[in-house]
Amino acid sequence: MILQGKAWKFGDDINTDLIIPARYLNTSDPSELAGHCMEDADPEFPRKVQPGDIIVAGKNFGSGSSREHAPLAIKAAGVSCVIAGSYARIFYRNAFNIGLPIFEAPEAAERIQSGDLLRVDVDKGIITNLSRREEYRATPIPPFMQEIISAGGLIDYVKKQKKQYQRTVP
């Protein structure tokens, strides 16, 4: 899969309160959440983000709460993927579980600037910066995570497991 979009650059420690403030967590409706995505980091973001755009950030992206509303808001806002220096662990799991592609790529996170046009080869983990004619490599996705992705997300993975379980227990 190839993703292409314009970069929105953010700093280090972008926490889940910045991604989707808790005051909007009285709903889990994705389109409503999308309307407030990244609002406290950049109030313009929800209005200006275009389908396919890419969030680029520094270290410890998604720190803080366990709210799955965070990756969901990003996905529902039309963002095609996130590239960051590193991720907080719960966010990392959640993103895979809901099917938001994310890439750990410290060099890319440092070099890419807001507005750069990016092309991401999801399977190979190669990020091409079309504006700067540079190429970066993302840390490979752990094999177990790949299994979850290829099963179509955690829920489908569990469904499969559950079926196997039922076959072994008469």
């Binding site: 926490n15 910045l18 808790a22 709903t27």
Partner: protein, 420 residues
């Protein structure tokens, strides 16, 4: 080679003799937890799996606490989804308004978690139960849904960091200060993906409530779990309270740690974390008398009885500064009642504070004390991110309950010594 306490608990839960950091395991869970924000999404995902029932109706705990008593129609709808699911599944441990509390104060109090347990909760501060010598960690709603269905979860065994605290704790310094200094030292991702093991002579003497506060904030350093090896203090707490059998695990003497940190606590003073990260820590004497509009004493970090006693000790016979709103929130109904019987609530009200029913409320900017633009709050909570308690141009400072109480009296951030 030896194993840490975290590794031992995970090995047992995975039915293995030994595990190593980095290894992926499928661990049986003793308890799973959801709240009014994360459970509705988990329930939706659970229903997609196509199983009729949760893996064990005694081990799925649902606690509406963030926006209840319902703050608006939308949150009422979310709480309703949780309530109806709990009834449909005949869950033993669903906690309704009037019988609830902030989840991480409530579960240990109810004896629902014990030493040696593996607990996953769709709330990042699930790491609180590590104070009891359990492995507990926060997950998202989809992971919660899977755990509700399977009674197991895949986990990567974390490497451990050991924190050794020695020396005698000075007056007004407690668990909150130890954890704030630690986060100040290692940073908000200083323990990312790892276990934080809290040990040493100062921890051996620390109360259970103080230990809960420390384990609670492990996630603020990015940790997967925080853990205190269980001892006599733990035993005293869980005896007569635990609803299931429990097991004390101890790390091996030759267990391997990714890093060991040592702190002498004897010269510490109370700590204050400045906006907008819990790592921006200064001693209270260097806080520069920052003027404040609001003080919140409560939350899963510092809403327990010991915290209320400390705050009341400072506030007794004193008045809240005319320019300050002091909001006190007992963590659970039992804590509330005990505080009432001990006369603490009277002290708060006579000082000019408002006392709320147990709720997360202002901690996450939900309700019951949301901040306007330009306002500043000193809170005993755990996060001071941008917009955490309201407007994105408001500010949150973090401290222990004694400093919070003293500052409410002074109208600016000060240590207890300045008002007593």
């Amino acid at each position: 080679m030896g194993m840490t306490i975290t590794e031992k608990i995970l090995a047992a839960a995975a039915g293995k003799k030994a595990v190593r950091p980095g290894e992926l395991v499928n661990a049986k869970v003793d308890l799973v937890l959801g709240n009014d924000i994360t459970a509705p999404m988990a329930i939706q995902e659970f229903e997609k799996i196509g199983v009729a029932e949760v893996f064990d109706r005694d081990r799925v705990v649902l606690v509406p606490d963030h926006f209840v008593p319902n703050k608006d129609i939308k949150s009422a709808e979310q709480a309703k989804i949780v309530r109806e699911f709990a009834r449909r599944q005949k869950l033993t441990h669903y906690f309704e308004v009037g019988r609830m509390g902030i989840e991480h104060c409530l579960l240990p109090e109810e004896g629902l978690v014990g030493p040696g347990d593996v607990v996953v909760g769709a709330d990042s501060h699930t790491c609180t139960y590590g104070a009891l010598g359990a492995f507990s960690t926060g997950v998202g709603s989809t992971d919660l849904a899977a755990a509700m269905a399977l009674g197991e979860i895949w986990l990567k065994v974390p490497a451990s960091l050991k924190f050794v605290y020695s020396g005698e704790l000075p007056p007004w310094v407690g668990g909150k200060d130890l954890i704030l200094y630690t986060i100040g030292d290692i940073g908000v991702d200083g323990a990312a993906y790892r276990a934080m093991e809290f040990t040493g002579p100062a921890i051996a003497k620390l109360s259970m409530d103080g230990r809960f506060t420390m384990a609670n904030m492990a996630v603020e350093a990015g940790a997967k779990n925080g853990i205190v090896p269980p001892d006599e203090i733990t035993r005293e707490y869980v005896q007569g309270r635990a609803k299931r059998s429990y097991q004390f695990y101890a790390g091996d003497p030759d267990a391997e740690y990714a890093k060991v940190y040592e702190y002498d606590v004897s010269e510490m003073e109370p700590a204050v974390a400045f906006p907008h990260l819990p790592e921006n820590v200064r001693p209270v004497s260097a806080a520069g008398h920052v003027k404040i509009d609001q003080v919140v004493i409560g939350s899963c970090t510092n809403g327990r009885l010991e915290d209320l006693r400390l705050a009341a000790g400072v506030l007794a016979g004193k008045k809240v500064h005319p320019d300050v709103r002091l909001i006190v929130i007992p963590g659970t109904q039992k804590i509330y009642l005990q505080a009432l019987q001990e006369g603490l609530i009277k002290i708060f009200i006579e000082a000019g504070a408002v006392v709320s029913t147990p709720t997360c409320g202002p901690c996450l900017g939900g309700y019951m004390g949301v901040l306007a633009a330009g306002e500043r709050c000193l809170a005993t909570t755990n996060r001071n991110f941008v917009g955490r308690m309201g407007h994105r141009e408001s500010e949150v400072y973090l401290s222990n309950p004694a400093v919070a109480a003293a500052s409410a009296i002074a109208g600016c951030i000060v240590g207890p010594k300045e008002v007593l």
